[in-house]
């Protein structure tokens, strides 16, 4: 007689990796502590008295650069959101650290991953052709798209050929880049996201705020509000299991009736013409395997040479992203199912141009793990939507200006250049150095704002001339007007918004040195 599954003390099936168990999320439980199923969970958990409205992202203007600071202030002014966001992502960073410490060869792995990516990018043309040939041999239809618009047209064309009206898709940052969802809505094709977080964002008509956890900026009360509005759930119930189940019940029938499915890819293997999608919800498998038609949109930088290289990246990806050893699903796609059709769209959208930029091409090594975002103290305190761009956080600061230099000219300044991102990055992208390099590029082309550049010019002129400098800081309080580190001169007097000014000293070091001959003369 077989025994049932081994159970933990809370009655749930025992986990292989106990450290992966979520902490108590405050969800509804019965009197014995067991978790209520969705049917029972209409009993309401205790909630804080007044829900805090969700702060929205950066306000976009047609011709003005994104004001990250303004959006960040609104995020910080919603303290429950800011605190949850900061702590949740810091928790991911700490889990990532624990995984790192469990792998003695961690730094060697990062080196290796970086080297493989550099090599691939240096021979990208060859590997792309190899991938195409192998994929075609596997029975995959391969398409090429120069930019986002071409990608959307190609996808539309494939769907139109099959008379498809409803597309289910799993999360893909590339299709965010190309604006696929809005494009397809415009031509009458319904798109349903199958990743829970992405689905929440879709229902709320909001962009993903994080490349791995798209709705991480939302409290569960926000999700309850969105679902009540769009799915008709109980507005007073924000139990996470209730909400997840409700969404599942509403979305599954749609998935079953879909005409086509779309995925992205985390890795495309040149040697085999296959591609790999990593998810935790298994939703890519639904998108790929339920409908007869599977379309995969793949950025050309996703190539790796051999299947043997895959292990390096699989070991790093989920550990860096979520602090788990591996994603729940690592799905390999080799060719169409019996009776089905599989299409791959290889998309450039600015990538080959970036490959030609000596200072910035390394950003193409990115495997979209989000570790740089989780560790970034600015991102954690401002939320992904405050960047007003497809990509946010450190990787966003260096990618976004390549898409629209003027609109995102402010983003490279939304960083303290502390360098934490560079050191968590599993493929060793010198992220903070690229942010620094972007500032230089933007200053050269006068894209940093005339006020800032004017101040720097004035500061540079004074600091290059000892006599001017001495005269300027001779009076203690006028030092505050000259020293550009504090730049407190109007019209940019922001220092005192939440801090006190340093007290001006009686005598500068220089004056002291002069008066006392460097301390050799006793003061009178």
């Amino acid at each position: 007689m077989s025994e049932g599954p081994r159970l933990d003390s809370d009655g749930l099936p025992a986990l292989l990796h106990r450290e992966l168990r979520a902490g108590d999320d405050g969800g509804a439980r019965d009197s014995l502590g067991g978790r209520l199923t969705h049917g029972e969970a209409t009993s309401r958990p205790l909630r804080p008295p007044t829900p805090e409205p969700q702060p929205r992202g950066a306000v976009l203007h047609r011709h003005r650069p994104v004001d990250h600071d303004e959006a960040a202030q609104r995020f910080i002014d919603a303290p429950r959101h800011e605190k949850m966001h900061d702590e949740r992502l810091w928790d991911l960073r700490q889990k990532r650290d624990r995984q790192m410490h469990a792998i003695p060869e961690w730094e060697a792995l990062r080196d290796l991953a970086s080297t493989v990516k550099q090599h691939t990018l240096a021979h990208l043309d060859e590997y792309l052709e190899q991938f195409e040939a192998q994929a075609v041999a596997n029975g995959i239809h391969v398409h090429w798209a120069r930019d986002g618009a071409e990608h959307n047209t190609v996808v539309h064309g494939i769907l139109a050929d099959h008379g498809a009206r409803r597309l289910i898709k799993s999360k893909s940052m590339l299709t965010e880049e190309t604006g696929l969802r809005h494009y397809l809505a415009g031509v009458g094709i319904e798109v349903v996201e199958t990743d829970l977080g992405e689905r929440i964002q879709q229902l709320d008509d909001e962009a993903p705020s994080h490349i791995v956890v798209p709705a991480v900026h939302k409290l569960r009360s926000d999700v309850a509000e969105v679902f009540a509005r769009t799915l008709g759930t109980d507005p007073g119930n924000d139990d996470v299991h209730y909400l997840a189940e409700q969404q599942r019940e509403k979305t599954r029938p749609v998935i079953l009736e879909a005409d086509a499915g779309m995925t992205g890819a985390n890795f495309a293997v040149a040697e085999t013409g296959t591609f790999v999608v990593c998810t935790n919800e298994g939703n890519a498998d639904l998108s790929a395997n339920v409908p007869p038609l599977h379309i995969a949109s793949i950025g050309i930088e996703k190539l790796i040479p051999r299947i043997a290289d895959l292990g390096v990246f699989i070991r790093l990806l989920s550990r860096s992203a979520l602090g788990s050893p591996i994603t729940q699903y690592t799905s390999h796609f080799r060719g169409p199912r019996h009776g089905g059709e599989m299409h791959v769209v290889l998309v450039d959208n600015g990538r080959s141009a970036r490959l030609g930029e000596p200072q910035f091409w390394q950003s193409l090594k990115c495997i979209r793990c989000g570790a740089c975002m989780n560790t970034c103290p600015v991102y954690r305190r401002s939320g992904g939507l405050s960047y007003g761009a497809t990509y946010s956080g450190p990787i966003g600061l260096i990618l976004d200006p390549t898409f629209d230099r003027r609109r995102y000219s402010t983003l490279p300044f939304a960083s303290t250049l502390n360098g934490s991102c560079t050191n968590v990055c599993p493929v060793k992208i010198n992220i903070h150095e690229q942010i620094f390099a972007w500032r230089k590029v933007l200053a050269k082309s006068h894209d940093i704002g005339t006020a800032k550049q004017g101040l720097m010019k004035a500061a540079g002129a004074i600091l290059a001339h000892p006599a001017l400098y001495r005269a300027a800081i001779a009076a203690a309080d006028s030092a505050l007007k000259v020293l550009p580190a504090f730049l407190v001169a109007n019209p940019l007097n922001s220092w005192t918004r939440g801090r006190d000014m340093p007290a001006p000293p009686r005598e500068t070091f220089h004056q002291w040195h002069h008066r006392t001959d460097g301390g050799r003369k006793q003061a009178p």
């Binding site: 730049l487 940019l492 939440g498 801090r499």
Partner: protein, 247 residues
């Protein structure tokens, strides 16, 4: 050995006592640094904002002032990082490269060059929370960082441990940035202030009486945040502790 002292602009203006402590500390070790009188700034404020052209003349002045020394000692890891890693607006002559290579931070000079083994004159009987400036930590490698899998070390802490009475406290997120970031503190005040407030709260929660760092700029920002929040934290540069300040 010809040693020069560079006192960064903000320290010159706001924290002259740190410059004085650095000078006296070096003299205690038999090093009497010269102080080139025409010195102003290393160019970091402009370069940090991307304005390399605007920094060029300041960098040239810096090199003129500090050519010909064996060591240029700076009580600021952040300025050293600028000079060593980012001083590229000025033409890279041999003299310039030499100045850049020979510039070191006070902590490095004591730890790596003089290899000091004690501060017998010093005593600091307080609970100290050490703040790592990010450029000092991840730019010129004052210590191991939490992001990397590397053997743990810290040059400033190993110096502080030689001072009688010091109790080092461990705070949460020990090497997270405090949000100063130079121009960041002015152009991104919302996040800068929040990070500063979080940082000083972490110091206070760890039970610190004093915050000590090898960089005054972060501490000016943090002190502004602590004062606004009414936290009873006091801030000292590591040079002051090592030179024997008691409080």
């Amino acid at each position: 050995m010809r040693v020069a002292l560079f006192v960064p602009c903000y320290m010159d203006a706001f924290e002259p006592e740190v410059g004085i402590a650095t000078l006296n500390l070096l003299r205690r070790f038999g090093v009497d640094p010269e102080y080139p009188f025409d010195q102003t700034c290393c160019g970091q404020p402009m370069v940090n904002s991307g304005c390399h052209d605007e920094a060029k003349a300041t960098e040239e002045l810096f090199v003129r002032n500090f050519t010909g020394f064996d060591h240029i000692v700076v009580p600021s890891g952040s300025c050293v990082h600028q000079i060593r890693c980012h001083m590229t607006a000025v033409e890279q002559t041999e003299a310039v490269q030499q100045v850049r290579q020979r510039t070191c931070d006070l902590v490095e000079f004591l730890h790596d060059v003089l290899k000091v083994d004690g501060f017998p004159w010093a005593e600091f009987s307080h609970k100290v929370s050490y703040h790592n400036n990010c450029n000092a930590l991840r730019g010129i490698f004052h210590g191991s960082m939490s992001e990397r899998r590397e053997a743990s070390y810290s040059k400033p802490l190993s110096l502080l441990r030689m001072v009688k009475g010091v109790t080092l406290v461990e705070k949460a997120r020990p090497d997270e940035c405090c949000g100063f970031g130079g121009a960041f503190s002015v152009f991104e005040p919302a996040v800068s202030v929040k990070m500063g407030q979080d940082k000083v709260r972490d110091h206070a929660a760890a039970g610190a009486d004093y915050v000590v760092s090898a960089d005054s700029s972060c501490m000016l920002h943090q002190k502004g945040c602590a004062d606004r929040l009414g936290l009873p934290l006091r801030f000292r540069h590591i040079a002051q502790i090592l030179n024997g300040d008691r409080a």
